[in-house]
Amino acid sequence: MFDYTFHWRAAYKALPDMLAGAWVTFETAALSMVFGVIIALLLTLMRQGRNPVLRGFAATWISIARNTPSLFQIYILYFGLGSFGLHVSSWFALLAGITFNNAGYLAENFRGGLKAVPDTQLRAARSLGMSAAQAYRLIVVPQLLRIVFYPLTNQMVWAVLMTSLGVIVGLNNDLTGVTQDYNVKTFRTFEFFALAAVLYYLIAKAIVAVARILSWRLFRY
């Protein structure tokens, strides 16, 4: 029944390439987080505002991002934009898809965080003579970031895991893509993907560890 010999040597030989792929994965995830946070802040502002068009736009974005699979979102960017004559690379489609997804989820987190900052804080800041922008920048946003820091780390781990979907739209230089390339060449599926799984696990743990150290440094009263 069990007549399979594992060949780990081939996988070890591929390790440098896979580490390079891991770096691409991390970069993509980090970029998508940066853009995601910016867009999510904008979406949160739009939702708070009075303009019905902007409100509708933000609400639509968030509900689509949260109610459809991220793979579907990447697909629609990769194949769907093609019908407008916009041919994007698979890496761009992946990045845009994950950013779209991140922004939707983070906007929801920010909304929750904003609710958790007491109204009185803003009013106190205003009555101390700060302008609205100052009050937001110096009082509300720092507290908001403190509250959403943990969800933010979580979302970063999610972003790293989501980059593995790039291989389905033909990306071949991220961690999963590199692994799949080797897999196609050698058909040592289990060994290569086991190594990739270990690398993903290490990346995820590293992110959590760094976030923990960061929060310990940043959020001391």
């Binding site: 007549d3 109610n67 699979p69 579907f72 629609i76 019908s83 781990v157 999963t176 799984a197 696990y201």
Partner: protein, 216 residues
Amino acid sequence: MFSTSFTWNDFLFLLQGAWVTLLLTLGAMAIGTVAGVLCGLLRALLPRATLPLSWLLDVFRSVPLLIQFVLFNSLKSIAGLNWSAFTVACIVLGIYATAFCTEIVRSGVLAVPFNLRRASRSLGLTYLQDLRYIVLPIATRVAFPGWLNLVLSVMKDTALVMWIGIVELLRASQTIVTRIQEPLLVLCIAGLIYYVMSLVVARLGARLETRWQEND
């Protein structure tokens, strides 16, 4: 201008794919809920002894689902098991759901105030009675929204099973796109189906939640 070669039969094909998606979700959630409630209870009641369990489940949350599918699929071939792709998908998604469900159940059980349990014990309930009549009803109400979120996220994650060759909603839409070459339209319809399914599940859950909270 708006002529399309998308036919009624294509739509039925998509609906069949959606049915597979729903079946997968159901199977995975059945496995995930049963195993998750067990593991979650163990984690909450014996936190020290089951620490290795939490490390094990943590692995499934930190490795991409796609890679879990590929790994398990090749492991199946290595071990010479003759399982269908559907079974493999259900098991992998089930373990994945277990990993999340455990945390949800654990936090639900821990949310029950310890004094409440002491009170029930001092009223003469046995340990199991206390668990059955006091802890579980309260923990269920606390954990339910999280569980519902898990159902929705598992439903979205079923899209990944196309990689091991199951024709579910997204794969069905790909098949149609290959034939009629209108990706935007077909993908939009598939997306709409996903959206409606999520919305229905979310609405049903919200209704159940309000009904449970009536006499709180």
